[in-house]
């Protein structure tokens, strides 16, 4: 690179020509850690999607659950979501950030030690997730399933990443922070906040904890986290990468930098409010639901501003899209972002959500984002990056084009059947016949109807994975053909030389030069929405009306509930009956906030592959549950639920009950010392009752000390607290109105 001051990359047009050769500094970009994250994202991408393919196949071929606890759908589903979100996208995000941040700051990363701590720490967390989730060690909170020791590790690694990020920004040689860096800052700050608040839990043992929140409050915090994990883990870092890699690939500046300012501030301010749209028509107070819905609709504006900004960056360069597979992937990624961010707000409209929620429509929606936006943008970045890291050309453009078309076809085969499946199931659940009865009263009818769609979806997944394998071959061959540049030399003028020329400016130009102030303002922007929604939910009693008849679970039911959590039953069964006639006819009285005050964590679920279970207590005899859990097809022919034979053979570990009840007491369940002391006796007594009930149902000699006894006790308790008693008043006027209809 020339040392001529006229060519200083860090100088503004006005500054160029004023610098001297003495002001130029030579430094090296760290490509080692970028390569490590690039390889990690490529490999974990294959692993995560392969886990997805396995669970997709289990839904039409239940024998693939293998009758072993470690391979069942309930345990592998969180493995799939965690692998894709945190391993594939997480490593992709770090890869993109570590590469672009150094170039945008014209500085090496703040600390090589922190960079490698970030890399190895993150891989260790992923491996620990891959071990603990199949073992059933889970909190059950979606995308936050990992137990408390791993939660602490995540926080530590994330802090290391944030320090490294901010440290690099502080020591930068480019006065102004490019838009991509704003998105990285918002990501670092917000993910830390979300993770810490949502993961507050009290340990009962080394790998078992209880959320400090219960019921309605736990649901609100969880979906505040869950929605914003989508926003600030899957979206904002990738938007930063879009703003960096798209202009570079197209070799033209971003279409409108002004629009990017509006995109950034609009997006981070609004996104945080939208969490409650995951809880529409639930027992969440109506005001919070309305806030979630309105802010979700507003979200279209900044999201589409960003998408349009991305696509219009390609104006005049569409001929390149035809030739460059990297740009093809990028265009589909940005288009998928636009589609998902229009569909999301649409699904957040209450009347649409009434049909879509709990169905495969949501699955189709999230996969448009995951496969299209995150997947294709990651592939695009890797195809761009590898030739540059290895100082060569891509091994095969033709193979990359095959990957593009196979991946696109795979995506179509995935989402189209899922849309069909979601709308079909939603309509079947709500269909009444001319006599006013449910047209499909047996839930299983609606599941069996979807099986052809599940089969097609698996074909889509297989195609998508085939594309990833082609990419791995291509990237490996590219690396083999080239020579890795681990420490890439660069030169730039020091910031000190440039900064004195900045005039006082209170606009965005000023803000781009003060990273700490920028970070604080971004944190305030994301905090406002969260605080306004969460604080009143905790402190204003009328949000969760108490119901006198609702009592804490018995010791045996606590253990049964823990097994229900361990097996991931919440992945397929909701415990939240919405106030629709179609639901109250099918399941019983709609669910009320006051019924969940002892539910640490809440188990409302977000998907009904099987029926809702909130009022299943007392609906079937104990023997039915026994047979059903051993082999669901013995009681429900055609069921796609896995067998749980180990529940019949594994001995219930009742020795842990004291620690668990004490932990639950710490989070607010009013167990007395006497109750905790007498818990073993209580377990024995209640187990005996279940055994007697089983013998009435012709299941003789059932051992009282097996796990299935606790699960049956828990299932039979569900939703019974208000049965046979005067139910509480509806929690809101809307619920009452729905019932009248």
């Amino acid at each position: 690179m020339s040392s001529d001051a006229m060519a200083l990359p860090g100088a503004t047009p006005q500054e160029r020509g004023r610098g001297t050769a003495a002001s130029i500094e030579t430094f090296r970009y760290d490509n080692h850690v970028v390569r490590a994250f690039a390889i990690a994202t490529a490999i974990w991408g294959l692993v995560g999607t392969a886990a997805g393919l396995l669970i997709a196949c289990q839904l039409f071929w239940p024998q693939l659950n293998l009758d072993t606890p470690f391979a069942t759908f309930g345990r592998i589903r969180p493995l799939h979501t965690n692998a894709v979100i945190f391993a594939f996208v997480g490593n992709g995000m770090f890869c993109g950030i570590y590469y672009s941040l150094q170039r945008l700051c014209k500085a090496r990363m703040f600390s090589d030690l922190l960079s490698w701590f970030n890399f190895w720490g993150w891989q260790a967390i992923i491996v620990s997730a891959a071990v603990t989730l199949p073992l059933g060690l889970t909190t059950s909170k979606e995308y936050a399933e990992l137990e408390w020791p791993i939660d602490i590790a995540i926080a530590v690694v994330w802090v290391a990443f944030t320090v490294n990020l901010l440290g690099t920004i502080v020591k930068r040689r480019e006065k102004h922070m490019y838009v991509a860096i704003w998105f990285y800052i918002a990501t670092a700050v917000t993910v830390a906040l979300l993770h810490i608040v949502n993961s507050l839990e009290v340990p009962a043992s080394a790998f078992k904890s209880y959320s400090v929140y219960a019921g309605v409050q736990d649901a609100l915090v969880q979906w505040w986290y869950g929605h914003n994990a989508v926003a600030f883990f899957l979206t904002t870092p990738y938007l930063g990468m879009m703003y960096y890699f798209l202009p570079k690939a197209a070799n033209r500046p971003v279409f409108s930098y002004r629009l990017s300012i509006i995109h950034f501030w609009g997006l981070i301010f609004i996104y945080i409010w939208a969490g409650p749209h995951h809880l529409l028509y639930t027992a969440l107070p109506d005001w919070a639901q309305s806030l979630g819905m309105v802010f979700s609709i507003m979200l279209v504006a900044p999201s589409w501003g960003g998408m349009i900004n991305g696509l219009l960056t390609l104006r005049g360069a569409w001929d390149k899209v035809r030739q460059d597979p990297m740009l093809k992937f990028m265009v589909v990624a940005v288009t998928a972002y636009g589609m998902a961010t229009l569909e999301g707000p649409m699904l957040a409209i209450k009347s649409v959500n009434a049909l879509s929620h709990y169905t495969d429509w949501t699955i189709a929606h999230v996969h448009t984002g995951a496969l299209g936006w995150n997947g294709f943008l990651t592939f695009s970045m890797l195809y761009w990056l590898f030739p540059r890291l290895y100082n060569t050309k891509l091994w095969s453009i033709k193979l990359a084009n095959y990957h593009f078309w196979i991946g696109l076809l795979g995506m179509m085969f995935y989402v189209v059947p899922m849309y069909t499946s979601g709308i079909t199931q939603g309509l079947m659940w709500k269909q009444f016949n001319k006599d006013g009865f449910l047209q499909y009263p047996n839930f299983l009818e609606t599941t069996i109807r979807l099986i052809p769609m599940y089969e097609l979806r698996a074909i889509g997944g297989l195609l998508y994975i085939t594309g990833i394998i082609l990419m791995l071959v291509n990237l490996y061959q590219t690396a083999k053909a080239g020579e890795f540049i681990g420490d890439q030399e660069a030169q730039a003028a020091s910031l000190k030389t440039l900064s004195h020329r900045e005039s006082v400016n209170l606009g965005h130009r000023w803000l781009e030069g003060v990273p700490v102030t920028f970070t604080v303002l971004a944190a305030v922007a994301v905090l406002i929405g969260g605080l306004i929604e969460i604080i009143p939910m905790f402190l204003i009693k009328e949000n969760v009306p108490t119901i006198a008849s609702v009592k804490p679970y018995s010791p045996l039911e606590v253990l049964g509930r823990d097994i229900y959590i361990r097996e991931g039953c919440v992945g397929c069964h909701s415990q939240m009956i919405r106030p629709f006639r179609s639901e109250t006819e099918r399941y019983g009285e709609y669910s009320k906030g006051g019924e969940f005050v002892y539910d640490h964590p809440f188990l409302w679920g977000s998907k009904r592959t099987g029926p809702d279970l909130h009022r299943v207590g007392g609906k079937y005899p104990d023997a039915w549950h026994f047979n059903h859990l051993e082999n669901p097809r013995s009681t429900s022919p055609g069921s796609i639920m896995p067998n749980y034979p180990w529940l019949l053979s594994q001995k219930l570990d009742s020795g842990v009950i004291g620690d668990r009840m004490r932990a639950l007491r710490k989070v607010g369940v009013p167990y007395t010392d006497e109750e905790i002391q007498n818990a073993p006796k209580s377990i024995q007594a209640q187990s005996k009752k279940v055994v007697v009930n089983l013998s009435i149902g012709s299941i003789t000699n059932a051992p009282a000390d097996r796990e299935i006894i606790a699960v049956i006790a828990y299932l039979q308790r569900l939703g019974t607290d208000i049965k046979g008693r005067a139910t509480s008043a509806p929690t809101n006027a809307l619920a009452a109105a729905q019932l009248r209809n």
């Binding site: 500046p253 309305s290 204003i540």
Partner: protein, 65 residues
């Protein structure tokens, strides 16, 4: 004290309106802010991502095709 204030907080029905007003003022503020930026600065910033010469592959080898 803060807890006491929130516990006695009423008027939940106004939350939606308050939030909407808050959003509109922030959004309009950002809009105004963005449009008051100097074009020369925005043009410069838009070039920042492109302003690196050293990332093009050097000594390009032939691709597989």
């Amino acid at each position: 004290m803060i807890q006491a204030i929130f516990k006695n907080l009423g008027g939940i029905q106004n939350y939606g309106i308050i939030s909407l007003c808050l959003f509109c003022s922030v959004f309009l503020g950002v809009l105004l802010w963005a449009f008051l930026q100097k074009k020369s600065h925005l043009d410069y910033m838009a070039q920042v991502a492109l302003d690196q010469e050293s990332e093009q592959p050097r000594n390009r080898k032939h691709s597989h095709e």
